[in-house]
């Protein structure tokens, strides 16, 4: 036997990349090329092709077994100490039933954002539970379905205040009792809105200037104090100032809710509701507000509507406020949410119920109270204000106590030389409190225990601030409190949702590729999950090693010199990248450079992000082939050469074409003093073949949840790190608590501020991208790009005689995705893209991207990890649908009442006693042979978007109240 044959057999690339070498050749031949390589050579412009990509580490790729060994080694370098740091991050018991059946379950983590409501009712219900939980606990009636983190949620609230005041009052006050990262993010964000942020002690806040749009306070404060904000809010409102309150969900189970004080907006994090700290994230943040400001609320909102048969059905509400439609008029660039984590938090509330949550809160409060009592007995000075879970201690030498704590594997927060805080959580035990007593006693004997002190503690919540109003009264929060019941509820919801467990999800521009099990496994290992983001970095050496390796790998892949892992989503990366460009111009004294050129075909987040940075947007068009009009670009760049700041471009283009001349485009921008921002949405067509740095871009974000395998989670988490060329590296974001910067670290850092609440963003999901890259190696990754191109071209070829393929490159090929044109069917058959997408559900598929970037079209992206068999099945479905359209065109089927207009067909419709459609039930349900073996059933008829947006309901309806009654009341 050969030695080669004795090497480990569990190699990974062949599991990820679908096509075998033999299939590759056959598929290439079917599109008119002899080999895969000749197809790729004809598709990717020669001028930008890389000779090779070579990694410093993992170049040959690890096997799955070797990968797990490596990750175990990293995990062993992380030291999990007991955290009392607080500051918005608390340890929590993730209920195992939720850990295994949601967080570790591909049926929950591989779903896409629920745009196709009829095959998403499960997570839509869970997200509506989340919104209901937030509105109940905050005491405000409207909530969104999660934001990226507490700090950016506060920044979004700041921007809402600015909008509510129509931009006429330009000061935003932040009380100094907010978390430092929250303050820093708001300060960074304020620049682009030309807002002035003033940080003041609560008692010094006044509104004399008449220029204040809003004020942000924290409840409980960052050092634990629980204050009555009643008078404060009255005074603010008397001065027409809006009040934003950052708060804590667990505290709100026992504290008077902010809505009852009159707060206008409440933000916070749902992390401690059963989502691990994960060294910073991902977690679901929330934002709640009053009815008055609901249409100004950023982010995704789930609403109640009805389906085609009048039954209650859920869907995403008010979608046209989203930045892809509002573009530069958008007031927020928020796209990706934290759906998976919001679902976990909502399930935590469902599992514990109102009484269970209150019991946890009272326990945490009790442990904190006992701790405070003990310290007083030890002769230490404890803050005498009311508190919930965080105790503030005055001491002559905070540092010495914190060091002693570390020796006992305990992390405390050192506020300053004389102040320490200790934050308690669900996982704290009586023994932990005893350990703390020892630490604070400094070697002196302790004559009591936490248990012995317990009877002495009553309550440290001021009497006027004790919560009296009920919450979580809906039956959903009072039914599933045994593990069997919750397990079945989770599975009942899951069965309503189509995910990658069922079939390919060919969404153009979204890269729904394999999320391999080996990549996902380390994400729930305790040595990665249980680290506090502000723990000393010496305790996180495993994470730090991974960050450094990942930074190096990403630099090689993109051709850049340094990376920031901080931005938590693609749009956050865009914003961060543009802020880097802005900081660069400012550092050179170019204060006037504020023009950003953006093609009309760009992702809508591009202009929205540029607007948030305060840039002036100049839009340029595309030519008939869908390419950037280079002449127009040149004119625009020259016209604005004195003020040109940046140009934003997606490559390959959003039209699915490798544009020739992209290198010339970069040169034009540089010649006129601008910087090139590349949107990394289509990076899956670049890896190993070309790179943003090589093409000439200065900065680029990567959607790790697209190209680098982080699953979509049903609408988040995402990750949007940015890479930059050397001259921009000093400006990469840092963090007010744990200083960070570019990886590798640049010389002379001048960070622009912070972009996310955690120093390295959602660190817990970085192992996914890291293991993907390390297992694929440079060759596997390059093959992935090639096969992504092959799969798209194969599908385009199969479909082109049924549907026009809209844009192609110079040699007639498409990139990794392509657009089919349905516009003609509007006239010939009254059929619109939505009808085709809904009919695809009957075939067991999720529709492609609809009407973007061209209205009336579908954009298909297969990715490299779909097999030829699956591609064929999807093509067969589309071809079959084309024949159904032809029946309408020929007059054999009614224009208004046909199998497309009636789609999707849920069992409730098909099984009803009455059937009035002009086609058969059987044909409606089983239009293709494979459906007889296994079929995914949509659970509702077509959901009525108009009804839902006219009658906005964004919380669970009381069980007794049918949606029809609601309709009668508002009609």
């Amino acid at each position: 036997i050969s030695v080669e044959a004795l090497k480990p057999s569990d190699t990974f690339p062949r599991r990820h990349n679908s096509a075998t070498p033999d299939e590759q050749t056959k598929m290439a031949e079917s599109v008119g090329f002899d080999t895969l390589d000749s197809l790729v050579d004809a598709t990717v412009p020669k001028s930008i092709r890389l000779k090779e990509m070579k990694f410093n580490k993992f170049d040959g790729g690890l096997t799955e077994g070797q990968m797990i060994e490596h990750m175990k080694d990293l995990a062993s370098k992380n030291k999990v100490f007991k955290s009392f740091i607080g500051m918005g991050y608390y340890n929590t018991h993730v209920p195992p039933v939720i850990l295994r059946n949601i967080m570790e379950n591909p049926a929950w983590y591989t779903q896409y954002t629920p745009y196709q409501a009829e095959i998403s009712q499960g997570r839509l219900e869970s997200l509506l539970n989340f919104q209901t939980m937030i509105t109940d606990l905050t005491g405000l009636p409207m909530s969104n379905a999660s934001l990226l983190d507490e700090g950016t949620a506060a920044a979004e609230a700041m921007s809402m205040c600015n909008n509510i005041q129509k931009g006429k009052k330009k000061t935003f006050i932040i009380a100094s009792n907010c978390h430092p990262q929250t303050i820093d993010i708001c300060q960074t964000r304020a620049d682009g809105f030309e807002l002035k942020v003033v940080v003041k002690d609560l008692k010094d806040i006044d509104y004399k200037s008449g220029d204040v749009c809003g004020v942000l306070v924290q409840y409980p404060g960052t050092e634990g104090e629980v204050l009555d904000y009643g008078e404060f809010i009255k005074k603010a409102h008397a001065n027409e100032v809006k009040v934003v309150m950052a708060s804590d969900l667990l505290a709100l189970t026992v504290l008077k809710p902010p809505g009852e004080f009159g707060a206008d907006i409440v933000v916070g994090s749902a992390q401690r509701f059963g989502v691990p700290m994960g060294y910073g994230g991902p977690h679901a943040a929330f934002l709640a507000t009053s009815q008055e400001y609901k249409r100004m609320m950023p982010g995704r909102i789930i609403g109640v509507s009805v389906d085609s048969s009048g039954k209650q059905a859920l869907r995403m509400a008010m979608q046209t406020r989203e930045q892809h439609i509002r573009r530069d008029k958008a007031t927020s660039n928020i796209c990706t949410a934290q759906a998976l984590l919001a679902n976990m938090a909502a399930m935590y509330a469902v599992y514990h119920g109102p009484e269970g949550l209150k019991a946890i809160a009272q326990r945490v409060h009790g442990l904190a109270g006992v701790f405070a009592l003990g310290l007083k007995k030890l002769g230490l000075e404890v803050q005498d204000l009311g508190f919930f879970d965080t105790v503030k201690v005055k001491t002559s030498n905070a540092k010495a106590i914190a060091d002693a704590a570390i020796k006992s594997e305990i992390n405390l927060r050192v506020v300053d030389g004389n102040t320490i805080t200790a934050a308690f959580d669900e996982t704290t035990t009586l023994e932990d409190v005893d350990k703390l007593f020892k630490v604070f006693a400094g070697g002196k004997p302790v004559s009591f225990t936490a248990a012995s002190l317990a009877p002495e503690f009553q309550n440290a919540i001021p009497s006027g601030l004790v919560r009296e109003s009920p919450y979580l009264t809906h039956p959903i929060f009072n039914t599933y409190q045994t593990e069997h019941e919750l397990l079945r509820y989770i599975h009942r919801l899951q069965s309503k949702d189509l995910s990658l467990c069922h079939s390919m999800i060919p969404l153009g521009s979204c890269t729904m590729k394999l999320n391999a099990t080996t990549e996902m496994m380390p994400v729930t290992w305790p040595s990665f999950t249980d680290l506090h983001p502000f723990a000393p970095t010496e305790q996180a050496q495993g994470y730090q090693e991974m960050f450094n390796n990942l930074g190096d790998l990403l630099c090689t892949i993109t051709g850049f010199d340094s990376f920031s892992l901080q931005p938590n989503a693609g749009a956050a990366g865009e914003y961060a990248g543009l802020m880097v460009i802005r900081a660069y111009h400012l550092s050179r004294g170019d204060h006037h450079r504020n023009v950003c050129i953006i093609p009309a075909s760009a992702h809508g987040t591009n202009p929205a992000s540029a607007a948030m940075v305060g840039m002036k947007i100049v839009t340029i068009g595309t030519d008939a082939k869908g390419n950037i009009n280079i002449e127009e670009l040149k004119k625009a760049a020259e016209k604005h050469k004195d003020n040109l700041s940046a140009f934003m471009v997606t490559y390959p283009s959003t039209h699915g074409v490798y544009e020739e001349g992209i290198d010339d485009i970069c040169k034009i921008i540089h010649d006129n003093g601008g910087q090139v921002y590349m949107d990394g949405a289509n990076m899956n067509a670049q890896v190993g073949l070309t790179s943003p740095g090589w093409i000439g871009a200065d900065v680029c974000h990567l959607n790790l949840h697209k190209t680098f395998c982080i699953p979509h989670g049903g609408g988040g988490p995402g990750m949007g790190p940015i890479g930059v060329k050397k001259h921009l590296a000093p400006f990469l974001p840092s963090h007010p608590v744990v200083p960070t910067g570019g990886i590798p670290a640049p010389e002379n850092p001048q960070p622009l501020g912070s972009i996310s609440a955690a120093p390295w963003g959602s660190a817990l999901i970085l192992p996914i991208s890291y293991t993907y890259i390390a297992m694929m190696g440079s060759q596997g990754l390059t093959d992935a790009s090639k096969i992504a191109i092959l799969n798209a071209n194969y599908m385009a070829k199969r479909l082109e005689s049924y549907y026009p393929v809209l844009f192609r490159g110079v040699n007639g090929t498409v990139a990794h995705e392509f657009i089919i044109d349905l516009r003609g069917f509007k006239n010939t058959a009254g059929i619109e893209p939505e009808d085709v997408a809904k009919r695809l559900m009957d075939y067991g598929f999720h529709g492609p991207t609809m009407s973007w970037p061209v209205a009336g079209t579908l954009m298909i992206e297969p990715t490299e990890s779909e097999s030829k068999a699956e591609l064929d099945r999807f093509c067969d479905a589309l071809i079959s649908i084309r024949k159904e359209i032809a029946e309408v065109e020929k007059g054999n089927a009614d224009v208004h009442n046909n199998v497309l207009k009636g789609a999707p067909h849920p069992p409730s419709l098909l099984m009803a006693d009455a059937w009035t459609k002009p086609y058969s039930r059987e044909y409606a349900a089983f239009p293709a042979a494979w459906l007889r073996g296994a079929k995914f059933w949509p659970t509702t008829g077509r959901v009525d978007n108009v009804y839902g947006d006219r009658n906005l309901v964004c919380t669970l309806l009381p069980a007794s109240q049918a949606v029809e009654e609601q309709a009668a009341a508002t009609a």
Binding site: I325, R326, V946, R950
Partner: protein
Amino acid sequence: SNVLDGLKYAPSHEWVKHEGSVATIGITDHAQDHLGEVVFVELPEPGVSVTKGKGFGAVESVKATSDVNSPISGEVIEVNTGLTGKPGLINSSPYEDGWMIKIKPTSPDELESLLGAKEYTKFCEEEDAAH
């Protein structure tokens, strides 16, 4: 789509009806048809001034949110509060019940720069053909 004689039209698809010292403004049948069913209408406060060619409000359908520009300048004297509860009036009756604001024009001669019914009809045909 329906274009009424006697009204003036802006290329951004708003109409204006000038009667005495008051001008009524709304969006055209063509505009509502392209937007689809309107689900929300954002209107200004009475008393604010509007400027020719500048936005004064927005209409939101399930397909798009569009700013609505004022065809002429003036001061808002009344807004159609009926649209708050029934935004669909814009679809069912764009020129009558679906009016948006009434203003006191500050420079009535701006009306002359707007399109007449025939010109606007032609403008819409050309715009549709270009798409």
